[in-house]
Amino acid sequence: MIPSAFDYAAPATVAEALGVLADAGDDVKLLAGGQSLIPVMKLRLADPAMVVDLGRIGELSGVRDDGDALLIGAMTTHHQIATDPLIAEHVPLLAKAAATVADPQVRHRGTFGGALVHADPAGDMPAPVLAADATFILAGPNGERRVAAADFFQGYFTTAVDDGEILTHVRVPKYAGWGAHYEKFTRVAQQWSIVAVAAMVRVDGGTIAEVRIGLTNMASTPLRATAVEQALVGAPLTRESIATASAHAAEGTDPASDLNGDAAYRRHLAEVLTKRAVIAAAGL
């Protein structure tokens, strides 16, 4: 498992990194935790001429309070996301999802930003971030730009990040008073999601006031379960109403077929897991 030879740079600031990127041409890859990039390089499915390591850029790491939102650095590890007190308080959905990623070793190396830019349809971080309506902050040769989560994930392993750009932070609104749950379905403990459902629910006096649901691995990008959300808003907080609404979970999805199950099975799972996720998020 030996990758092709490549040049290596480890800039100390975002500005320096952008400079390296500008000089390096198009055959360059950013390295975050390396938990996705290094395996594909070792298998020689990727052989960049240059690797730019973001690991020494301190400003990219950590979680900050930013008024009505949290500002999460791209290099914040899954482990930090899973255990950070600000996240636990304001967007526990992210912590719950991050805790299901792989194993402790991978969670200590793999990063929030790396997972989002990698945009694996079976990856666990994109759907929660989409459900939470986050904003992506990208630094590029022409300065900073902001991309809404709904526009960020563009296809199979494809995002709005252009060549020469770096994801620096993700801004996630605070969800005070919401319940959250990430329902992940796998065959073995350490596995990417076959299907998973991220749910946040705000209950108000026995009815569901607001709900946000993200689906993992039901298409080439994460999806919102819009039909379920619509059916649930204003519905009574009962298992029956949640089950009825969850029957819409597969609407508008386009899941793949693979060794873990065909598309029909995934559609079915989406319904069952949506029901379970919402019930758990609502604390029923």
């Binding site: 498992m1 030996i2 379905f185 065959r187 073995v188 403990a189 873990n260 065909d262 099975y265």
Partner: protein, 789 residues
């Protein structure tokens, strides 16, 4: 008073170095001037090689040479198959580097030799191989038709057909009678999916050609067999080859092989005159190391209305893959003797057709043939119970050999020496809480609970030892089944035990030390166990088939006994007594009826100094012994699994697993438990997780651990393990094999449990592995066919 070592749950002495990184695996070897190899492998499952252009690779930086099949055609010979199961058996030539054609994806077509591993790997991309693709045959039923041939030159996909018929063998009645007169006939087809042994340490070989002998370090289970076979295959005098198996990280049968890569590393070292190293990647290991199982079992079981089995008819299609490896062809035959398992069947017929396909070749994998057989019969016993509406435990009781009936000659012709199936089952049922779980199952069914409960039962026995030599000879296996040991007494009284068994994770260092410490009355710490080097351990048949203790361990005891006999002669001389008056207890030799005694250490020093020994006495106490048992050993057990099936998702969870194994007298309960746990994990993996899947072109889809799902600790329940102890009568200790027990018994226990949970919903079978999507699909299908009986 010393504490008896045999039976003591000692921590394993070898673990200190194995788990603190002080281990030496083959890949840790670095020799001066060593070159590195990388393999160019075929991306096609079946193709002619029309040309190979290695010029670019040869001029790549750091590359020393590139070897193609044509380059080594004269030296490479054909890799060995040691088990021609019939005189007519067909087999293609098996060159280490393909010469004209490839027959599976992953086959080596060229080898790069370079100054660094990275340079070798880079040059792989530069070898330009032109292929003419040929049609592939992947499926066993297709292979049987002989329309597409895996090896066109062979003219057929059939390697051999092997039949056992109890009527003809005189061990029982003719099967035709049983089937014709059947009151109940159960007919089923079971699929044993292809598995990948997935040992933790990938295969690795280092060859140093620079001394008088060629020295081969290899991650192998079989240093002795490898030495012999490399010599025969490559035409090197056996005396010029030394094989060392250093620390070896697991094998499970997967390293019971003479591999193309080992032969190629020897060829490369001889070609360059320099030490060469090859270590495979995990991808190469999954693709090109041998696979296991891969059989279709068509079975018929006849019985009376009372549930007494009257006959069993087995038709097997066995997937050899593209070539015959060391014992590929014999694996199904090892199963042939086990289909009748613990039962008294009056009639039995077994017919197996070995077939070639364009996939990696299969060979021994933990249990080799016996898990497949046990699965089929245990699934059938459950089917019979369902058919007759009686408890599955009851059906087994009606048919098993009772403990008074031993020794018992089975319908397959084996003589089971001992066993007590009643005792093991009774203990398992009690530990499991069988009646309570049955009650809960009824409640869940009644309540239409989304999570249903099933109880899976499996009883088993197996033949361990792969000894006696004469039986192996009668089955056309090329080698014997004895084992050799030497016990050396050093001048200080410390002991060296040299064993022909080749531990690769089993704990022989500890167990053999316990055996010898007990027998010679010396402290455990004073015993050193040496193995895995043909220069130290000159004779041996290595480790596989749950044979090490019952064969290799017995050789150790026999050698220790000879040491005692020799020491008695010296002791008598030293104490001026007659030999008959010398008694040996707890490490002391004393003169009967006196308080005169001398310790083994003093005798050892006397033997070493040789100043005053009896006339004609060789001045040492060292002794050799070779043990060839008269019979196999037959461990057995009863395994019970409580399985939960989430009917909404198809997810299967093991709620409780109880196994009671009878492995006879136990030397170290901790090691036995470890073997059982590991075995259970691998058997459960077959039932629920693992399957080697190929696409229509014959490419391995499960080419990494992302897709080939090996379970890890969180996927497995807490196991309740217990034992009964019915000593074997075929060896002096009363021990039986344990290495494969868990693997054999757990697969059917799990699948029976899954089916028991959903049978009332109309599901009658689910192919292994019972993945959530398959379980859900089976439930859906049962709904649409209205399958509820």
């Amino acid at each position: 008073m010393t504490i008896a070592e045999v039976g003591r749950a000692r921590l394993r002495k070898e673990d200190a170095h194995l788990i603190t990184g002080r281990s030496r695996y083959t890949d840790n070897m670095t020799l001066p001037g060593m070159l590195h190899l990388a393999m160019v492998r075929s991306p096609f499952a079946h193709a002619k090689i029309t040309s190979i252009d290695a010029s670019a690779a040869k001029s790549s930086p750091g590359v020393v040479a590139v070897l193609t099949g044509a380059d080594v055609a004269a030296q490479q010979g054909s890799l060995p198959n040691a088990w021609p199961i019939t005189p007519e058996q067909k087999a293609p030539a098996h060159p280490a580097i393909a010469v004209d054609a490839v027959a599976f994806a992953g086959e080596v077509v060229a080898c790069i030799i370079a100054r660094s591993a990275a340079a070798a790997r880079d040059a792989v991309e530069l070898v330009d191989v032109s292929y003419e693709e040929l049609p592939v045959v992947l499926d066993l039923e297709e292979a049987l038709k002989d329309e597409v041939l895996a090896h066109p030159d062979l003219g057929t996909n059939k390697s051999a057909t092997w039949i056992f018929d109890s009527g003809e063998a005189g061990t029982g009645k003719a099967i035709s009678e049983a089937l014709e007169g059947a009151e109940v006939l159960i007919e089923r087809t079971f699929y044993q999916q292809r598995l990948i042994p997935a040992f933790m340490e990938p295969r690795s070989t280092v060859v140093d050609p620079t001394g008088e002998q060629i020295t081969v370090w290899s991650a192998t289970q079989i240093p002795h067999i490898l030495r012999l076979m490399l010599a025969l295959t490559l035409g090197i005098p056996e005396s010029k080859v030394r094989v060392i198996a250093p620390d070896v990280g697991g094998g499970f049968g997967g390293k019971l092989q003479v591999t193309p890569e080992e032969a190629i590393t020897v060829l490369a070292a001889r070609h360059t005159g320099k030490p060469c190293k090859y270590t495979e990647t995990r991808s190469e290991s999954l693709m090109a190391a041998h696979h296991g199982r891969a059989q279709v079992q068509k079975v018929k079981l006849s019985a009376t209305k009372e549930g007494i089995v009257t006959g069993l008819d087995v038709h097997l299609l066995a997937d050899m893959g593209a070539y015959l490896g060391l014992v590929t062809s014999g694996v199904p035959i090892l199963g042939a003797f086990m289909y009748n398992s613990i039962y008294k069947f009056p009639a039995y017929r077994f017919e197996c057709t070995n077939l070639f396909t364009n996939k990696a070749w299969t060979d021994a994998y933990r249990g080799a043939g016996r898990p497949e057989a046990t699965f089929a019969i245990e699934r059938l016993m459950d089917e019979l119970a369902v058919e007759l509406g009686i408890d599955p435990l009851e059906v087994r009781k009606k048919n098993w050999i009772t403990h008074e009936e031993f020794p018992f000659t089975t319908v397959a012709g084996l003589e089971y020496d001992s066993g007590n199936y009643e005792a093991a089952t009774a203990k398992a049922v009690e530990l499991f809480g069988y009646d309570e779980l049955r009650a809960e199952q009824a409640l869940r069914r009644e309540a239409n609970d989304p999570v249903q409960l099933g109880i899976g039962i499996s009883t088993f026995t197996e033949m361990c030892g792969l000894a006696p030599s004469r039986v192996l000879g009668a089955l056309s296996y090329a080698a014997g089944g004895w084992e050799h040991a030497q016990v050396r007494v050093l001048p200080t009284g410390n002991i060296e035990v040299v064993t022909g068994s080749s531990a690769h994770g089993q704990g022989h260092e500890t167990a053999w030390s316990q055996l010898v410490a007990d027998r010679l009355g010396v402290p455990f710490e004073n015993v050193e166990v040496l193995h895995g080097d043909t220069q130290t351990s000159q004779r041996g048949l290595d480790t596989y088939g749950s044979r090490s203790l019952t064969v290799g361990g017995m050789a150790v005891l026999a050698a220790a006994d000879k040491v005692i006999e020799k020491a008695k002669v010296v002791a008598a001389h030293m104490m001026e007594a007659s030999e008959e008056d010398i008694e040996f207890t707890e490490g002391k030799f004393s003169v009967k009826g006196t308080d005169q005694s001398t310790a083994l250490g003093e005798i050892a020093f006397a033997a070493f100094s040789a100043h005053n020994l009896p006339d004609g006495f060789e001045p040492n106490l060292d002794s050799d012994a070779t043990f060839d048992p008269q019979n196999f050993s037959f461990p057995h057990g009863t395994h019970l699994a409580a399985m939960e099936v989430d009917t909404e998702t198809g997810q299967v969870t093991i709620r409780k697993y109880v196994c009671v194994d009878d492995v006879g007298v136990v030397v170290n309960p901790l090691i036995v438990e470890g073997q059982v746990h590991g075995g259970l994990a691998q058997g459960i993996a077959q039932a629920l997780y693992e399957e080697a899947v190929h696409d229509d072109a014959g490419t391995l889809v499960t080419g990494s651990f992302v897709d080939y799902l090996v379970p890890s600790a969180p996927d497995l329940p807490h196991f309740t393990t217990a034992r009964t102890e019915t000593p074997s009568t075929t060896n002096q200790l009363g021990a039986k094999g344990v290495g494969e027990a868990g693997t054999i018994a757990s697969t059917p226990a799990i699948v029976n449990g899954v089916l028991d949970a959903v049978r009332h919903l109309g599901v009658t079978d689910i192919k292994m592995p019972c993945t959530p999507s398959r379980v859900w699909a089976a439930l859906e299908e049962a709904k649409t066919t209205g399958g509820v009986q």
